[in-house]
Symmetry: C2
Subunit: 660 residues, 2 copies
């Protein structure tokens, strides 16, 4: 054990295990999680070479092998609880992805939710035994966010009782679905349904794309890998071009909409029914943000504790990087953010499960709020995390660029969350639509409930005041007071956006133009709303914590999170009259004090996330802090070192030298 | 040609060629640059497969081949002017790197500046004929920024008149030098010089590491590749462990310091002499920022002009993404930044050349200012560009993640500039040191010259005022007025940092602690200083432009750059009393107006950067806008598509299915 990092652990002011239990949601959950993680870590079948040393084809190969192993082992161990499966896979996969991801996350859930009873009987056993490997083919080369514009067609032919699927243009080629390129033999294809000469919009069709015997593409199917990406090397995101592919009528998912044998179209009873999965996935992404950021912080803070650099006092040894104020200022607010997002993720997951119970009972009343919240928080947390991972990486100096740090892989694996499952700006605007609607209802005298109820606050509370003429609203040392400030900032920005939108409507050609011309303000309002929600949920979590020492350190983190957010957005708070100019200096000073307060607990706070070395996959983030010897060992395994002299020397360098 | 993008070009309000000439520094320079670029583009030897389809070893192989070809062709064409070589290589390399980079940028320049006349005679011809391939080995596994702490030793043995080089610890292994792993046969090794029992600090030693006949590592030399990184796959950044490696006394670079045959150490006359190269490289990085950001903007803006998505008006066709206000708000400020940085880069390059003339005449008077400026601007421009590239990438939706967009490669190739040649936070603090020193001189009544002369402005101008009690300083439509505001903001923040530092000195253990405890404020002051310089140089450039239409569009860009910066930092401007709260609303509105004003010229403004498709290497950024058909063509070439059925199916999937 590196002595620097041992000393850090001795200095912690709180009991690590208590905090870990809080993060896991209870001591028993911690115990079971660790038990499952140990299963993988002690399993020789999961020992493997760093994927970074492999070519893309080898990486794909290794990922398929691992996926197949995971399936068999999960059955062998009888692990079937979704949370436990998640734990198992997190360790087994490390920072990498599985080509079967979409099979689990989209293909089977869609079958479950959109099949008729008969269809379920046929397809689910095939999917669960992996004879059918499926993907979900929605996005097209030219169409992402706006799914109504998708071009793929499914035309019903009553003479054979088949649908004929076609990709009529280049831009209609299905593009991006994970596992589509090489792995899947079936796809749920989203296509415009035509029957009896009329288009009925998007519907889902189970489409065989490869032979279940030979795995060769079926006639009329052009399928392949979309080529290398920024990350996800081991996944075969694919393309699919359909040329008069015929499938039986029964392959349309018909739980809701139907096509009768004669071609008669039967409408679905409600359009809210497919809403749920999307909300679920977005809610889960909030938790993914917390995980990616907490892993990055673990690596950066541990390495900053063992890395020595530069000179604070002449003649003395180089200090730990973690003692530099600028380093603390980079990392500790991110650490606070990781905790904040973890608690927000817990809240989203709990809320989703509560509300889906209601939905199953036919009660959709809370869905719009959760929909708006999950959209905005998905964007808010992924943007912050995306930038935060890179700050962590760059805080590690040159070695943050090495793949052995794992930080490049964490980044490229995480960054797509800003785009998939709803592009972030679009998400922010969806939330804004809900906020503006709620704001109007509040102004019309309606009493709002739930998280937007603050929009009922009296309007005059937030009129901008000349700062000197009124007492300061915020007490910068008090989380409750800061939370009030975040609330009024959100209210102010929602109000401004709503008013600007109203003003635009006066002289715009259409509602849509007015909306577009207000969209910067609308995004800003959503951002402030989400920021308020995060501070609120962090503060709420504190009230649940009994242990004094843990409560104390988490309170410091919460205050840092809130105050740092104020410092990053001082204009908003000044503009809303929530802050006075002299307070800015106090905030700067208080932030520095909070950094110093957290310093002795920094390593313990990342240890509490409890990532095993095998899950971090990072030489810089090793628990034992023995970084440099392991970097050297890792580098020696680089494929370029398999020979002492690379063949290019004989091919190009020697001939060049002889010519000059 | 895609009709959308043609229409964009027809709508431009200015003559493209005039702007391109301004960017190049004159019509003749544009002509010659294009001539050189055509040489590469028409050369069949430079047609090659996308490196993204190759394994790392294959990429390295391709890069060595290309480097060797470039050397021969440059000689064949008689291109020897450094700027022309730069143009040639930019096209030939595309977004990739050459393993010989350090040979040109560090090895030969160091020989030139630090060799005695005799040493030059021996080494330069060998280096220029590539019989010696060199690298510059400074950074060690455990030591980056603070070079005085390097551990490699060179101990003089008078009995054989040799230096004995050693890597005494794991952390002393040389790590990161480009081309060290497999390509170079010599390295300039920075090591602590020991002679006659005394350490004389760091000196440079030409160290043979591989046989010039067989390219095998020499005895005592452990050399290899440091393994895969975030980008730079085609470069063999290396490690070097030296075990009692003996080199002749004459291999120490002895232009300044010397070791006599008997071991007597002779001091160098001045320590300023090695300053220049560093300043030069940092100045050049400012230009690299401009190039990376302008390439990213070109790709994102062209693609946004041909990409249609979502619905502005129900029933109407999907609009161009570029018509969305949120998209404009992401991209146009970055476009303005790319122009700003381009002009700053021009200034830095011109200033460097002027000052190096002075230095050659023994006049070092302007070097400290240039040193401080290049450090801060290197950090300021690379941070902004680093974040900006990712905004561009994510503004392209899912396809920004595809390697065919080139944006991932631009990012991973650029991001190391935030760390190498001086880590950015360290750079900002170097600039701050100069600012604080200058501020103190100004307060002591000294009249400052050059770019820091604003620190002489009367102190009472920037006392914080109650916003309501004094007239507003800034006229938000006037660039000159905004420039004044940036100046006073910088002055205010330098003053605050200096005062905080002074206050810390009262109760800190040491100057160094006081400095560390003020470092957040110091970085903030540097940032404001650099921001002011950028606005100033952009404004200065405008005054040189005669053409009315070009002047007009660049003025809009400059105003957008300045005003967007104010909007991002409103707290600073409010705090300094330079802005009033009601003005914030006006700024938001004015920013939207500027986005609309720029909209018709957006494509023309990126066209003016004049990047040939071959230099962008981006399907999304194609000049002709024909994106989707070329994406499909590119994807089909993916190595995973070389077979219809991947071998992993037979190895893992079929066996899995048979077990379930």
């Amino acid at each position: 054990m590196n002595p620097d990092i041992s000393r850090e652990r001795e200095n912690a002011s709180f009991n690590l295990e208590i905090l870990t239990n809080i993060l896991d949601g209870g001591a028993e959950k911690t115990r079971r999680r660790r038990e499952i993680e140990s299963l993988v870590i002690s399993d020789p079948d999961f020992q493997h070479e760093d994927l970074n040393f492999l070519s893309r084809s080898e990486r794909y190969d290794a990922a398929v092998r691992k996926s197949a192993q995971m399936i068999l082992k999960l059955r062998e161990y009888g692990i079937s609880d979704p949370e436990e499966i998640y734990s198992y896979k997190s360790v087994a996969k490390g920072v990498y992805q599985e080509p079967f991801g979409v099979h689990y996350v989209m293909f089977i859930p869609t079958l479950n939710s959109q099949c008729t009873t008969e269809q379920r009987k046929k397809w689910i056993p095939l999917a669960e035994s992996f004879h059918i490997l499926g993907t979900y083919a929605q996005t097209e080369l030219g169409h992402g966010t706006h799914i109504r514009a998708l071009e793929t067609t499914a035309t019903y032919d009553p003479s054979t009782q088949e649908f004929v699927l076609n990709s009529p243009t280049i831009s209609s080629i299905k593009w991006w679905p994970g596992g589509l390129g090489k792995t899947s033999n079936h796809a749920i294809v989203l296509a415009q349904l035509y029957t009896q000469g009329k288009c009925h919009g998007l519907h889902a069709f189970i489409t065989p794309i490869r032979s279940m015997k030979t795995h060769m593409p079926l006639p009329g199917v052009v399928v392949g890998d979309i080529g290398p990406k920024f990350g996800f090397d081991e996944v075969d995101n694919g393309y699919l071009k359909l040329e008069n592919v015929r499938i039986p009528r029964e392959n349309m998912l018909m739980k809701y909409a139907k096509v009768e044998p004669d071609g008669t179209y039967v409408k679905p009873p409600s359009d809210k029914l497919t809403y749920g999965t999307m909300v679920f996935i977005r809610s889960m992404i909030v938790g993914e943000s917390a995980r990616a950021l907490s892993k990055s912080c673990t690596i950066a803070i541990r390495y900053s504790a063992v890395r020595h650099q530069s000179e604070l006092r002449p003649g003395e040894p180089e200090p730990q990087i973690l003692d530099y104020q600028t380093q603390q200022y980079k990392l500790f607010p991110l650490l606070a953010t990781a905790y904040a997002f973890h608690f927000v993720g817990q809240y989203m997951s709990k809320t989703y499960h509560r509300i889906s119970g209601d939905i199953n009972q036919g009660d959709f009343s809370e869905l719009p709020e959760l929909h708006a919240l999950s959209a905005g928080l998905k964007a808010f947390t992924t943007w912050a995390t995306n930038a935060g991972i890179e700050v962590c990486r760059m805080s590690c100096g040159g070695h943050g660029y090495s793949r052995c740090s794992s930080l490049p892989d964490i980044y490229v694996t995480f960054t797509p969350t800003c785009t998939y499952e709803g592009e972030n700006t679009v998400m922010m605007l969806q939330t804004a639509r809900y906020l503006v609607k709620s704001y109007k209802q509040a102004r019309a005298g309606q009493q709002l409930t739930g998280i937007v109820s603050y929009l009922n606050e009296p309007q005059n509370r937030i009129q901008p005041h000349s700062v000197s003429s009124r007492p300061t609203v915020v007490s910068i040392n008090d989380l409750a007071s800061l939370l009030e400030a975040y609330k009024f900032r959100a209210l102010k920005l929602v109000e401004m956006a709503a008013k600007n939108l109203q003003a635009e409507l006066q002289h715009s050609k259409s509602n849509e133009d007015a909306w577009n011309n207000s969209s910067i303000d609308l995004v800003r309002a959503s951002d402030a709303h989400c920021h308020y929600v995060v501070v609120k949920l962090f503060a709420a979590k504190l009230s649940e914590i009994g242990d004094t020492a843990v409560h104390s350190v988490l309170s410091t983190l919460a205050l840092l999170y809130a105050l740092h957010g104020v410092a990053q957005n001082t204009g908003d708070f000044l503009q809303a009259g929530l802050l006075s100019v002299p307070q800015l200096t106090q905030i700067s000073q208080r932030l520095k004090d909070l950094l110093s307060e957290l310093r002795p607990n920094a390593v313990a706070l990342v240890d509490a996330f409890d990532y095993r070395d095998e899950m971090l996959g990072s030489v810089l983030g090793r628990y034992d802090g023995n970084v440099y010897e392991h970097m050297f060992e890792w580098a020696k395994r680089s494929p370029l070192n398999h020979t002492e002299v690379h063949e290019s020397y004989h091919k190009y360098l020697k001939p060049l030298q002889s010519k000059l």
